[in-house]
């Protein structure tokens, strides 16, 4: 039976090595918290883990003793014990106490994370973002700033950012693991919560957090990623001003781009806007492309270059099965794709 003990030991080391081998990527992992909400949740995780490790150790000690001491050695009939009131009281009361230790901070944190009173105040200065989820893309509206962007969420660091969440087709769930837990975007109602993006730790994560859809929403659920650009308040204000300055679609810079714009205006503009104006949400049928050239991914998943952009436009179905873009526009020749890519990549608001 030494073999068994050895195996347990090896597995224990393997588990330990696994734990030490890393806590995931700083831009994606909930174990690398980068803001107040994620911190609160990480602290709760640690507290519950320590309590639970304690419980596991007690169980394992009894378990091991039983294994070695009470194996059948002879044909004796052991004493038939009915139970023990003392023991039973001990293992009823101690777990209750442990759970109380966990329950109090849980309840406190649950209320704290749901505190969105600031959103209801008149003349509140708080930044509010309306998140609207669609089959398989994200729409971000800044109602007070009166601008709209998509796929890349832009936020200031070191302040509470408030979110209104809703879905316009099926239920999704809005999740930025490194910054805080998720909240569903229901089709029925608006859900509200807040997040804080910590300046220093956003830097460590390259100022670009990964966001995910966490609720099964169809074939491309796995590909419904978005990115979060975190920047200082000053940079954020500049970005807002630059966005607000775009009243007309950006003029194409080159001849090729001008051709692209023509194609775009014929085939794409029915769904995709290139101005950040605040149209009603139901009218925003596809991602807003005002600052497309400054985004970090094509369609949330592909590398941000012309080649991938052309591939995407040629056949979005291969990249995001079940998306709403496929077959909504005529097939494009390679020349047309070149022109379109040139035009779209030139859509920038910050110079």
């Amino acid at each position: 039976m030494k073999r068994f003990a050895k195996w347990r030991l090896i597995s224990l080391f393997a588990i330990l090595a696994l734990v030490l081998s890393g806590c995931g990527r700083p831009y994606l992992s909930s174990l690398r918290p980068a803001g107040e909400v994620a911190d609160i949740q990480y602290d709760l995780m640690k507290l519950s883990t320590w309590i639970m490790v304690g419980v596991i150790i007690v169980v394992l000690i009894i378990f091991t003793i039983v294994f070695f001491r009470f194996r059948r050695k002879d044909d004796r009939i052991p004493k038939q014990v009915e139970g023990s009131h003392t023991l039973e009281i001990i293992w009823t009361v101690i777990p209750i106490l442990l759970l109380l230790i966990l329950a109090v901070p849980t309840v406190a944190a649950t209320f704290k994370l749901a505190d969105v009173k600031e959103m209801d105040k008149k003349n509140s200065k708080a930044l509010v973002i309306n998140v609207r989820s669609h089959l398989y893309w994200w729409d971000f509206e800044y109602p007070n700033e009166k601008i709209v962007t998509s796929q890349d969420l832009v936020v200031p660091t070191n302040e509470k950012v408030y979110f209104n969440l809703k879905s316009l087709d099926v239920k999704h769930s809005f999740w930025i693991p490194a910054v805080g837990g998720k909240l569903d975007t229901n089709t029925d109602n608006i859900n509200r919560f807040w997040l804080v993006f910590d300046d220093k730790r956003a830097n460590e994560a390259g100022n670009l957090f990964y966001g995910k859809c966490a609720e099964l929403c169809g074939p491309s659920h796995a590909l419904m990623d978005f990115k979060v650009k975190a920047m200082s308040r000053a940079d954020f204000d500049t970005w807002v001003k630059d966005m607000q300055a775009v009243k007309q679609p950006e003029k194409a810079q080159t001849d090729l781009a001008a051709q692209g714009q023509e194609i775009f205006n014929k085939s794409c503009i029915g769904c995709h806007a290139v101005t950040p104006e605040d149209k009603p949400e139901a009218a925003r049928l596809a991602p807003n492309l005002t600052n497309f050239g400054e985004r970090s991914r094509i369609a949330g998943i592909l590398d941000h270059n012309k080649e991938e952009l052309k591939n995407w436009i040629k056949n979005p179905e291969t990249y995001k099965p079940g998306n709403e873009m496929t077959n909504k526009y005529p097939a494009m020749t390679d020349e047309q794709l070149d022109a379109l890519a040139e035009y779209l990549m030139g859509l920038k608001v910050q110079d």
Partner: protein, 622 residues
């Protein structure tokens, strides 16, 4: 089974099983059908792990992946875990309380056929245009958006199968209340019978909400209603509530009988009475009760608000207490005992650390504020597989080895059994332990692929390797079953030698009437008590007399067949097929016609006469 099989031709055996109302044969049917569905669900699981072994894999398409995960979950819960538990409940519970059958043998057969045809209907979706693809939870907005007939198969198939489960549960309740042998008081019932009792009561209250939800969904999808259509004033959150008001108790409906199986095994192979029997019973009832108070912890991120989330968080944590009581009671059952490590005991012993892992992560996901991180990630996938595989599946495997001799009269090979155990146990931890971390590292659940460069590659590969081990374990078990049945070495009443409860007091497999004379029960572990006093068997509570038996009947099969046909009619009605509505009416006519026949035809059963019973005994001795 095999003794009869040798005497009769295949057709006769088939007819026998199609018409049987004997709880032991129905148990065989549940075991075979549940086992087949378990293998199907397992193949689906392997496909999932192959697809996720490496990033950006295209082994299956995105749409097919969603069908596979949906069918994996639905199959494993409704068509594998529950029927397999029902197999043991049917095979063992009536014996444990000293009864000759369940209270309603006819209804028992009907319950099986409903489950079987419901499952068959659901799985035919693979060949008829695509399986359901909205997850086993089938949340309303996505399931209404889903094209094709997949969700219709889910909605109709589960209604039929759910009906079977519900009447099965009612049958067990009545059996335990009414049919206990003389002296078998409630507080002398074996723990497996107790957990069957509580789980059946939970079925009684949990399945109606599911049926309501499924019916509303059926009307939305097939008959133009708008219960869940937000644009028409419907509400999708209602579906979430209805589903989880059923869904959470369902978890306890599965785990409580598993607890019961392990309680029997711990006690038997430690040669000790169950430690703290009355607190075990109390904990079972308490878990059953609290199981209905916590459904909204599956909806912490739905946006119910902090008050609801806090209440449900604390209520959920409270379940940890009775569960902890059980763990310590099991440990102290072995403490001071004489523990023999047979294959069932391997499973039971390994269940403790495995299930404790699942239990503690259960408390972790109950902390609402932190659950916003865990919810819908691989952490949750790891958690519920630790509970369901580490609890329910280990119990099913343990129960298969433990009660195989009682069900079939043969003993599964111990060496092969232990090989199965090691492969399955190592594979299980390899597959699921790492998934806790995948979730925390930012991997949502139900994703058909993941992109490279997110730190998720190694963890997913480890998990997939584990799945291979588990599959190998199941294959060895199948080989074990075939080898054992081919060798067909018969065993006696109490093949483990340490049997404590009434099922070990009679032959393996028991005669079709179970007990020639109902036994007199003088305490907990009735058979053990007699053995300790040096007696060979139970003291009879009645003189030998005629035994009243029910007749076999083909009507349960026909009632169900009608519903099965009607479901196709209901489903194809949306495609404006001219034959759809007539088919629906025809199917329902078959069902209600069969019921009518059952109602008007007197069927009083038959009697086995005293003389035959005594002759049987002489024959057995000779």
């Amino acid at each position: 089974m095999s003794t009869i099989a040798q005497k009769k031709g295949f057709g006769a055996v088939l007819w026998d099983y199609l018409t049987t109302v004997d709880h032991k044969k129905i148990a065989h049917l549940y075991l075979i059908a549940g086992g087949l569905f378990f293998i199907m669900g397992g193949i689906e699981a392997v496909l999932i792990r192959i697809q996720l072994a490496v990033p950006n894999n295209d082994f299956v398409s995105a749409g097919a992946f969603n069908e596979i995960i949906t069918m994996h979950g639905t199959t494993m819960i409704f068509l594998a875990a529950m029927p397999l538990l029902f197999a043991f409940m049917n095979a063992v519970m009536p014996l444990q309380i000293g009864a000759r059958d369940v209270a309603f043998p006819f209804v028992n057969a009907l319950g099986f056929w409903l489950f079987f045809f419901g499952g068959l209907f659901l799985n035919l979706s693979w060949f008829l245009g695509g399986a359901p693809d909205a997850g086993w939870t089938s949340y309303a907005s996505l399931s209404l958006h889903s094209k094709g007939h997949g969700i219709d198969f889910y909605v109709l198939g589960l209604q039929i199968a759910g009906l079977g489960t519900l009447i099965g549960g009612i049958n067990f309740l009545v059996t335990i209340i009414n049919m206990r042998a003389p002296g078998m008081t409630y507080m002398r019932m074996p723990l497996f019978t107790w957990t069957t009792f509580v789980a059946s009561a939970m079925i009684l209250f949990a399945f109606p909400p599911l049926t309501v939800g499924l019916t509303l969904m059926m009307f939305d999808r097939l008959f133009g209603a708008n219960f869940f259509d937000v644009t028409m004033g419907g509400n999708t959150i209602i579906w979430e509530h209805l589903f989880w008001v059923f869904g959470h108790p369902e978890v306890y409906i599965l785990i409580l009988p598993a607890f019961g199986i392990f309680s029997e095994i711990f006690s038997t192979f430690s040669r000790k009475r169950l430690f703290g029997y009355s607190s075990m019973v109390f904990a079972t009832v308490l878990i059953g009760f609290l199981g209905f108070m916590v459904w909204a912890h599956h909806m912490f991120t739905t946006g119910l608000g902090p008050v609801a989330n806090a209440i449900f968080a604390v209520a959920t944590m409270a379940i940890g207490v009775p569960t902890g009581i059980k763990i310590f009671n099991w440990l102290f059952t072995m403490w001071g005992g004489s523990v023999k490590f047979t294959t069932p005991m391997y499973y039971a012993f390994a269940f403790i650390p495995s299930f404790v892992m699942g239990g503690v992560t259960g408390v972790m996901v109950a902390t609402a504020a932190a659950d916003y991180q865990y919810h819908d990630t691989y952490f949750v996938v790891a958690h519920f597989h630790y509970v369901i595989v580490g609890g329910v599946v280990l119990a099913l495997l343990a129960g298969t080895h433990y009660w195989w001799p009682k069900m079939f009269g043969t003993m599964l090979n111990e060496t092969l059994g232990k090989i199965t155990f090691w492969l399955f146990f190592i594979g299980f931890h390899l597959t699921f332990f790492i998934q806790h971390f995948l979730g925390l590292w930012g991997m949502p659940r139900r994703v058909f692929t993941f992109l490279p460069g997110q730190g998720l590659d190694a963890g997913n590969l480890i998990s997939s390797v584990g799945a291979a081990f588990m599959s190998a374990g199941v294959m060895i078990l199948l080989i074990n079953i075939v080898v054992t049945q081919v060798k067909n070495v018969k065993v006696g009443n109490d093949p483990w030698g340490d049997g404590r409860t009434l099922e070990w007091a009679i032959a393996s497999p028991p005669p079709y009437y179970n007990f020639k004379q109902l036994p007199l029960v003088r305490g907990l572990d009735a058979y053990w008590l007699e053995k300790m006093e040096g007696k060979k068997g139970m003291t009879p509570a009645e003189p030998i007399g005629d035994i009243h038996m029910p007749n076999s009947s083909f009507i349960p099969f026909m009632i169900t067949l009608g519903l099965f046909i009607a479901a196709f009619g209901a489903m194809y009605h949306v495609n404006d097929k001219p034959w759809a509505i007539p088919l629906l009416i025809f199917g329902l006519a078959v069902t209600f016609g069969s019921m009518l026949v059952r109602s008007f035809k007197d069927d009083h059963g038959y009697h086995i006469h005293k003389e035959e019973l005594t002759q049987d005994e002489k024959g057995a001795k000779a």
